[in-house]
């Protein structure tokens, strides 16, 4: 049966490199080629940005069936498709859409010669900076010049010199000699973050990217320009000269900076994180993330990291081993029963950890369980006003209607003496209204955190936990999406993964068996938490799964969806 007969309302037949495929009407030629596994090299095209078609790297050969004269039958090829007559000049694949019966050749002599020509022109003034360029190893200029370049220069003139090492913002450095003038960065700042500070000046081979004289590129999304720059023209000050990209291992995880839960890649080498970059998820963060979330990982390198469990002795703390710390914590908590004990957990904890807190609260038979409400200023793009990544998880698992509402009564309870023991997990409550005066009324205070903070100082026992990059687990973001956190590096010193600490504590108190697999713990949790019903840890997947209808929308994604509808971007 001929494929041509299957043309339907919104599918069209397109021939790519001799093979017929069906793609959605309105698809860009470059995307159609991608679907046919024929990658077309490109610089300026980015699916989330408008397509100015200015780099000409994506030139391909295109043809259409000739329109038959009235009364004439279209000539058919062996597959039953109308014969294509090829156009003598190439077209760009990024900004043109497919049409019924269209033919695209990505490997023809014409297409190849076009690419080679464009590559040669792009490289005539190139400074050959690869040895000192942070983009080396993930640079499309390198990749395409291997595939389509000449290997030597025919250019005899002196190269044009352009500004190098230019400070264009607090987090970004520009090297104009490396720039291929694709304008991705300009379009990003105009279209996505409404901060139109980049532009081109001068003409011909002196054409350079430049920054507004009075306005630096300082918005909280500026580092995304570094990611989308196909070459090393824009580099990150934070990552500058720290590590070559080919040494790093990438771990798929999520950002813990706010309740958005942007999908990220954590790049690390030998137990040290070097950078975080956004990972595409069109339900959460598109292809972007904010700078503050991206640079969040420096917190893990703080000198204040706790590395050993500690117990108060007189006025100071002494280091103890884990079994002792756990035993003393369990003994201390079991001395009090019911509502004499309070637990302040954190929406920074994973679902699994929160579930273990719930088990602990059940053992202690206390109702005084809450998390803190930490709201800051969100923005109109991705950043969420809720500064905690897993508030929705805390709500679902700890059965909190409105997190933070019980905190005041816990504080009053401590002040009045009805609450005698407090377990604080993952928060520095000292800075949240529980001052020394309040906390010193307690008979027994245990805290767990990654940093030595004032709360830890007042605690009888301090349990050092693991940061978001040092553990696995799941979280539910602001829009109700269940997502996975993955372990990129090991926690420092003797600090441990929190789900192990909490389980040790639970086992010491209720005598139940230790669950060795996080997946098994997740399954146990999923059987009692309604919104997680039917999920397994491995079933969550890289891009997460929607579990709660929160009715919230993501401003940046709304606008992108609009532009997709208008046909401005591919999305």
């Amino acid at each position: 049966m001929s494929a041509a007969s299957k043309q339907t309302e919104d599918l069209v037949n397109v021939q790519v490199d001799g093979h017929w495929i069906q793609v959605k009407r309105g698809t860009r030629m470059i995307e159609a080629c991608k679907q046919a596994s024929a990658e077309v090299p490109h610089y300026c095209y980015h699916p989330k940005l408008s397509s100015p078609g200015n780099c000409r790297m994506c030139l391909v050969e295109m043809g259409m069936p000739p329109r038959p004269t009235p009364g004439q039958e279209a000539e058919l090829d062996n597959d039953g498709h109308a014969k294509i007559s090829w156009m003598p000049r190439p077209v760009i694949a990024c900004a043109n859409t497919v049409a019924e019966g269209m033919g695209i050749r990505t490997q023809s002599t014409l297409a190849k010669e076009c690419r080679e020509g464009v590559m040669e022109f792009l490289l005539i003034n190139h400074p050959l900076d690869c040895p000192i360029c942070d983009q080396a190893g993930e640079c499309t200029l390198q990749e395409y010049s291997v595939e389509h370049g000449k290997g030597e220069s025919r250019f005899l003139e002196n190269k044009v010199k352009k500004p190098k090492n230019v400070d264009i913002g607090p987090r970004i450095r520009l090297d104009d000699e490396r720039c291929v003038l694709c304008s991705r960065c300009v379009r990003f700042t105009q279209e996505i973050v409404d901060d139109d500070v980049l532009g081109f000046v001068d003409r011909g081979s002196h054409n350079v990217l430049t920054i507004h004289p009075d306005k630096p590129l300082a918005n909280n999304y500026s580092l995304n320009t570094v990611d989308i720059c196909p070459v090393g023209a824009l580099t990150s000050n934070d990552f500058r000269f720290k590590m070559r990209v080919w040494f790093m291992r990438e771990t798929k995880s999520i950002c813990n900076g706010c309740a958005r839960g942007c999908n990220i890649l954590i790049s690390s080498r030998e137990n040290k994180i070097y950078r975080q970059t956004p990972r595409e998820n069109n339900e959460v963060n598109s292809s972007w993330m904010c700078d503050s979330g991206r640079l969040n990982y420096h917190l893990l390198e703080s000198d204040a990291r706790l590395t050993d469990p500690m117990m108060k002795k007189g006025k100071s703390h002494e280091t103890v081993d884990w079994p002792q710390a756990i035993r003393r914590t369990a003994e201390g908590l079991l001395k009090y029963k019911g509502d004499e004990v309070a637990i302040i957990a954190s929406a920074r904890m994973t679902n699994e950890e929160l579930y273990l807190v719930r088990v602990l609260a059940d053992t202690l038979e206390t109702k005084n369980v809450d998390t803190l409400k930490c709201h800051g200023e969100g923005d109109d793009y991705l950043n969420h006003k809720d500064r905690r990544p897993n508030t929705n998880g805390a709500k679902a698992i700890l059965k909190l209607r409105s997190p933070g509402s019980r905190v005041n009564s816990i504080k009053k309870g401590i002040e009045s003496g009805s609450i005698k023991a407090l377990l604080v997990y993952g928060e520095n409550i000292e800075s949240k209204g529980f001052d020394d005066g309040v906390l010193s009324k307690l008979k027994f205070l245990v805290s767990s955190h990654i940093l030595a903070n004032p709360t830890a100082k007042l605690s009888d026992i301090v349990l050092p936990g693991a940061s978001y990059a040092e553990k696995r687990g799941s979280m539910i973001n602001a829009t109700g999406r269940l997502q996975l956190l993955n372990k990129a590096i090991e926690p420092p010193g003797n600090s441990r993964d929190d789900w192990e600490i909490l389980q040790d504590l639970n086992c010491a108190m209720d005598g139940k068996d230790f669950i060795y697999e996080l997946a098994d713990l997740f399954s146990e949790m999923a059987s009692v938490v309604p919104v997680l019903k039917g999920f397994t840890l491995s079933g969550i997947g890289e891009k997460g799964a929607s579990v709660i209808e929160t009715g919230e929308t993501i401003p940046l994604l709304e606008r992108e969806a609009q532009r997709v509808n208008q046909g401005l971007i591919v999305g």
Binding site: C130, P131, I132, K164, W246, F247
Partner: protein, 176 residues
Amino acid sequence: MAVIVERPKLSILEKFYFPAIMKGLRITLGHAIRILRRKKKVTMQYPEEKWDNNLPEHYRGAPALVTDEHGRERCVSCQLCEFICPPRAITIIPEEIPPEDQWSKVEKRPREFEIDMIRCIYCGMCEEVCPEQAIFLRKDYAISGYTRDEMVHNKKKLYEIGGVREGLVNKWNTLK
């Protein structure tokens, strides 16, 4: 496909291995007697005597870093040698060249550059991969030390061994 190699057919004399043993003994004894009569010297009295003057041009000794004729460190800390080194003997910590430095236009240099000479197998891959012609295998071969730490050549030591190399890749000297 298996190839079957025929065993050579031995003659009677060859099967009877005594003559071969005698032949060997004769050579050994010959040398012994010649040495006793001080006709020919076979052993070199290392380390009093050394081969150094006879080393061929392509000799691969200890890898070392070199500076150019202006005293600029040629290495820009691209870490390609660290990547290619088969026993992973090289460890580099890069840094940015401060703006007040004479060579600040080069932008990048190694803050620390270490080659663990216990690991190094003198393969020369680092020299071959270096895009800046900054690392060379020199003729030093007697690398020794009392501790493992001593066997790690740091940046200072590497430049000491390496010295100056002129007129190779010189793009940084003309740039700007």
